[in-house]
């Protein structure tokens, strides 16, 4: 511990070789500027959502909550929110359970072609959304499956599984197998070991995976757009429909809320994982 720390200290000192003990202020200024560049857009959106005027231009013409008011009185917005929530919760449960099973199988068993299968399970994470969307659409279409929330749910589960699997598998990788052996040595059956030792220790990973799956589902737009059909609506689709007719302050308001919500949920998931 101390050694690692001193290593870091040495490196810090090394930066300003002539001037020991000086903090690398230049680096900080550079990073702050870079971050501003990355986050200015989100800040602008949040700012604009409080704009009293309909025009999204600087300077603001006054602070107002009218766009939030308009938002909350929009029935279709509420319907989209409800649908998003239903799909997201179902996706969360299904993708987490399947992810746990995948991760367990990949971590605990050896079988021929395992490496190939492992890289396949990760593919939806890497395949472009447009392709997944078209593929699913073409698939449902050729099999005559009617589009709607059900097809959206199926698509979201496919999209979320790689993430839940990865998160749980990374937690399992650090799992000390001798803990299970110790439990059996002390008289626990296979089932008891799973219940009393394995699952409690994987719990932080499972929770993080569930939060990831939920966020992925709530945010998903591209694939949803392809497979949702004409009748149903989710929150991202509703927002997109709003934008089609130009950026309105209402869209800024809902975007601000989604930014806030996503940040909180993902913050939770990441801190869970960090603690794990």
């Amino acid at each position: 511990m101390v050694h690692r720390q001193t290593d870091r200290l040495v490196r810090e000192e090394r930066l300003g070789t002539g001037a020991r003990k000086r903090r690398p202020w230049l680096v900080i200024v550079y990073l702050v500027l870079a971050y501003l560049f990355l986050f200015l857009p989100s800040l602008v959106v949040i700012l604009m959502s409080f704009n009293a005027s309909r025009l999204s231009f600087f300077p603001l013409e006054g602070i107002s909550l009218r766009w939030y008011q308009a938002l909350f009185s929009d029935r279709l917005m509420w319907l989209g929110a409800r649908n998003s929530l239903v799909v997201a919760v179902t996706t969360m449960v299904v993708a987490t359970v399947l992810g746990l099973m995948f991760a367990y199988a990949m971590n605990r068993f050896r079988f021929p072609g395992k490496g190939f299968l492992t890289s396949l399970v990760m593919a939806p994470m890497l395949t472009p959304g447009v392709i997944i969307g078209i593929s699913l659409l073409s698939f449902y279409y050729s099999l005559g499956i009617p589009r709607g929330l059900g097809t959206v749910l199926l698509a979201h589960v496919v999209l979320a599984i790689p993430y839940t699997t990865l998160v749980i598998a990374s937690r399992m990788q650090g799992f000390d197998l001798s803990l299970e052996e110790a439990a059996r040595n002390l008289g626990a059956s296979e089932w008891t070991v799973l219940r009393k030792v394995t699952l409690p220790l994987l719990w932080p990973g499972i929770l993080a995976a569930a939060l990831f799956a939920f966020t992925i589902s709530v945010d998903e737009f591209v694939v949803t757009f392809f497979v949702i059909g004409e009748r149903a609506v989710t929150l991202p689709i509703k927002i997109y429909t709003g934008v089609r007719f130009g950026i309105s302050p209402e869209v800024n308001a809902i975007s601000s809320l989604v930014i806030l919500f996503s940040t909180i949920v993902l913050g939770l998931a990441l801190s869970r994982q960090a603690r794990a």
Partner: protein, 363 residues
């Protein structure tokens, strides 16, 4: 004689990748005995332990615990508690919950459990540690929790996998004695695996030395150290000088050997004339003298080439005039007495009784 608690009968273990980890291991551990399984890493000692615990199944042979055949029994149905090398304490449970685990699996009533947990924690001198998290304990404390957790189930045999391996040197030397005394007091049967010869000699009633999946010798610590049976045992348990040569004379008590270096050695023990044999001798049995002693049979002239000073004693590396090298270990003398220096001319003297005839394990 005490009855056998653990019995291994010609046990083999071949892994799926073709690795033969254990080849024909037979061993009996008696009630109350402390037996050390000693060997270098990869010699099959841990696999043997794991087969007794039930984490692996033998490819051939039988394993019995308390007379019952448990060869293919699942781990939870054996009465062999194990202390893991990394302790394997459950990090999501308190110390008390860890220790209670075995009893809870046996459906013991909670009030009895609470009392026994208290007893066993005080046995390992951890009173008041009930509600601590095992993650926050020191290595030595964790080791004692693991011990209490295993002991509380009152197992037929306690299996220890390098129990002191994770502790640092000073603590390890202290714990050796403490652990030995505690387990002897409880009159528990112990099988423990180690690669540290000092630990095996210090702690156990009997030592089984393993190499290449085979048991090379089983005996009390002094038998194994003072009368090694195979070249491996002589080289692994302590340091040895080896001589290889042909038997040129033999009577009921002594054998005379002509070594490859051309010197003649008198050795206690018998071997047929003409046979090639290996004999060994401990460095502390090789004396160094400044002048030859004609009354001594095995006395060879040479020169000191290197010295390793260890404090209480020193190792002298002697190059004999015949070309062979010898190590001699002498206690450090008082300041003022004569100490040998590098380059000194010396006579190495070995008593015939300090030389042992070794045999390969198959023989």
């Amino acid at each position: 004689m005490q009855p056998c608690v653990v019995e291994l009968e010609d046990v083999w273990k071949v892994f799926d990748n073709g690795l033969v980890a254990v080849r024909g291991c037979s061993l009996q551990i008696r009630k109350g005995e402390f037996l050390a399984l000693l060997g270098p890493s990869g010699c099959g000692k841990t696999t043997t332990l794991r087969m007794i615990a039930g984490f692996e199944f033998p490819s051939r042979g039988r394993i019995r615990i308390d007379g019952r055949d448990v060869t293919f029994e699942r781990p939870q149905h054996r009465n062999a508690a194990m202390v893991f090398q990394n302790y394997a304490l459950f990090p999501h449970m308190t110390v008390a919950e860890n220790v209670a685990f075995g009893l809870r699996m046996r459906q013991v009533p909670p009030s009895v459990i609470a009392e026994k947990v208290k007893t066993y924690l005080s046995l390992v001198r951890l009173d008041g540690y009930q509600d601590r998290s095992p993650k926050k304990l020191s290595g030595g404390e964790q080791q004692r929790v693991a011990l209490a957790r295993a002991l509380i189930t009152e197992p037929a045999v306690l299996l220890l996998d390098e129990p002191l391996g994770a502790l640092d040197r000073k603590l390890r030397e202290e714990m050796q004695l403490e652990l030995k005394q505690l387990l002897n007091r409880l009159e528990i049967t112990v099988l423990f695996v180690t690669h540290d010869q000092d630990e095996a000699l210090v702690m156990s009633h009997r030592v089984a030395v393993m190499a290449n999946g085979q048991i090379q010798q089983v005996g009390t610590p002094d038998e194994v150290y003072e009368h090694p049976r195979t070249p491996f045992v002589a080289g692994f348990v302590g340091v040895s000088n080896f001589f290889q040569g042909r038997v040129i004379g033999s009577d009921p008590e002594y054998t005379v050997l002509e070594t490859t270096g051309g010197i003649r050695l008198a050795v206690s023990g018998t071997a047929p004339v003409g046979e090639q044999i290996i004999v060994s001798c401990r460095p502390e049995k090789v004396c160094l003298a400044v002048s030859p002693d004609s009354s001594f049979f095995n006395s060879f002239p040479g020169r000191v080439t290197a010295i390793k000073y260890y404090g209480a004693s020193s190792q002298y590396f002697v190059q004999l005039d015949c070309g062979l090298s010898l190590i001699s270990m002498l206690p450090t003398l008082e300041v003022g007495e004569h100490r040998f220096q590098i380059g000194d001319r010396v006579y190495a003297e070995i008593h015939p009784r300090a030389l042992h005839i070794l045999r390969e394990p198959g023989a």
